[in-house]
Amino acid sequence: MTETTYLGAITATLAGALRADDRVLVLGEDVVEGGPWGATAGLAEEFGEDRIRNTPISEAAICGIAIGAAQSGMRPIVEIMFVDFVTLALDQLVNQAAKAHFMSGGQLRVPMVVRTQGGAGQRGGAQHSQSLEAWLTHVPGLKVVMPSTPADAADLLAAAIADDNPVVFVENKTLYFRREEVDVHRESGAIGRARIVRPGRDVTVVALSRLVHDAVAAAGSLADQGVEIEVIDPRTLVPLDVDTILESVSRTHRLVVAHEAVEHGGFGAEIVARVQAAAFDELDAPIGRVGAPFAPIPFSPPLEDAYLPGPDEVRAAVLAAIAA
């Protein structure tokens, strides 16, 4: 076992990939200096500023350059500093990267990773705190990964870099400094495999990113009330390991989906639809949803704290599912 932070796992994985393959390069704003949290800190010293490449504040061009470089033999990793800024690069991601392999009849490959981070809770206001992963999951050709732990961040980032498709890797800023013991001999996570974080018999809770930890926190107090929840982290949204979720629901017969993103149109809706279509007869209660209200993220601390879903909302949704 070794102790690492989520951020440290990312930095170490980037370094490992850069060391193993000369075709890997990192592009982004302030990546030489390490970026706002230090995810790329120290990489320029080891790999040089040709491979750890600072860019202007030009998200669309950065993504386009990565696509062209990927099509011509490199394996670029782009850092989009906040997922909120993915909006500026959506033509490149949606119209170019996601479709190049398909539209070329398989001639082109775009092995690139877009590392970005979302999440509220740091008083960043409505343009630096969003969870926009659902938009990206709607685009065939993109893979979308959303790790919640240091071990998964390491394993899935390595898998994303090795993947021959464009992968959007969505980190969460509030998880960066979580320190965890990581089993160095663990079985590596693969893109498209969910993880049962905590087994339980009564209600399945499928949670994304930060909400995985909130669901685990809720599990303790629910257990005190005699309710055992099973917490599942899909880890990758596209492709989605729906089988693991269905298998769990076939035992618990109750489901709650939880994410920090706005509930309306969130990725939880896709999980709900898939489960009800495949396992309607297994369900003993309406599927519960936990997500943010349909409003921009407020700035003022008490407003932001009230806005964000957390353990209390998960607990309430679980109890509602039990009561139904």
Partner: protein
């Protein structure tokens, strides 16, 4: 017409322009007959740019085209039957019928793709240029775009980074004076695209894009600079879009070009007059060149018609495996 060029080069340029011209005239007919499908943008009148540029590139030099890219693909080496089959949506199309007119790709010849989103292709060329340099080669990348792309933010982002990183990329603007239905003067106060990029210190030149020899000479200069590592360039080719923005465009927004005026501007006729004057071309060769292109296009249409439509489903190639 600029100074003399060798007969072999002149004949090759003529041959390429005739192939594009006849191919696209046929595409227009087939579009009206509903054999070619979708949104079709023809480059008739602009063939000198694609021919003058691509004739000097290698297969490992990446080229990106825009929505009006049949000529770019053909000039870069894409076989006519596969291009035609793609426009007809057939299984033997360049992209197996998954791409269509605005998304032609022929990776084997370095044509890494047309794009239907105006300006969206520009940074991709920077990326290919960066890859070539990082992988230790002397490849260059070329991107074709129209004057309508220049008013988009992605263009400025790309020019800035291309110059900042001294990338071996050549930005070729086909300035035909119209962005879709609208004359350039109604979209910007900057008449010349080469003036738009002036502050970046990029090598830039504006040439008569319907003078294929002028295009070729100007491109030769920036190509050797870029290949030698001297950084990017912008070549603005002033040209004429003889057809509408798309096939079927009624073009109520402009007067048709008079036949005599077009005779003077047509890049093919101009090079032919030049060749006859210089003595490397005679009337028989002119007829043979045009007929050769017609025969080749006839054969391409025949082969494309023989190719079946692909069978559903179409979900196999969403992800690379």
């Amino acid at each position: 017409m600029t100074d003399a060029l060798g007969g072999a080069t002149g004949l090759e340029l003529l041959r390429t322009m005739w192939r594009i011209r006849i191919f696209e005239e046929r595409v227009g007919e087939l579009a009206r007959a509903n054999e070619v499908h979708g949104l079709i943008h023809l480059s008739i009148g602009q063939e000198g740019v694609a021919a003058g540029v691509c004739s000097q590139l290698r297969d490992d030099d990446a080229v990106y085209g825009n929505h009006r890219a049949h000529g770019h693909a053909i000039a870069k080496g894409a076989p006519l039957p596969a291009v035609m089959a793609e426009l007809m949506g057939r299984v033997d199309g360049l992209c197996r019928g998954l791409g269509g007119s605005m998304h032609l790709v022929d990776a084997g010849h370095g044509f890494l793709g047309a794009t239907g989103v105006v300006g969206g292709n520009v940074p991709l060329a920077l990326g290919s240029a960066l890859a070539g340099r990082m992988l230790g080669g002397d490849q260059v990348a070329v991107v074709f775009f129209g004057d309508g792309a220049v008013q988009g933010g992605i263009f400025v982002e790309s020019v800035n980074i291309a110059t900042l990183w001294e990338l071996p990329v050549i930005l070729v603007c086909e300035n035909n004076g119209f962005a879709e239905f609208t004359p350039r003067s109604a979209h910007t106060n900057v008449e010349r695209v080469s003036d738009v990029v002036a502050p970046y210190g990029i090598e830039r030149e504006t040439v008569d894009g319907n003078d294929v020899v002028a295009v070729r000479d100007a491109f030769a200069h920036v190509l050797s600079s870029a290949r030698a590592g001297a950084g990017p360039a912008l070549l603005e080719c002033l040209t004429v879009r003889l057809r509408g923005h798309y096939e079927g465009d009624p073009q109520r927004y402009r007067e048709a070009l008079a036949a005599e005026e077009w005779q003077q501007l047509d890049p093919i006729l101009r090079l032919q007059r030049c060749g006859v004057e210089a003595g490397w071309l005679d009337e028989n060769t002119v007829v043979a060149l045009e007929q050769g292109a017609r025969d080749e296009v006839d054969e391409a249409v025949r082969l494309a018609r023989e190719s079946p439509f692909p069978s559903p489903p179409s979900t196999d190639l969403v992800y690379a495996t």
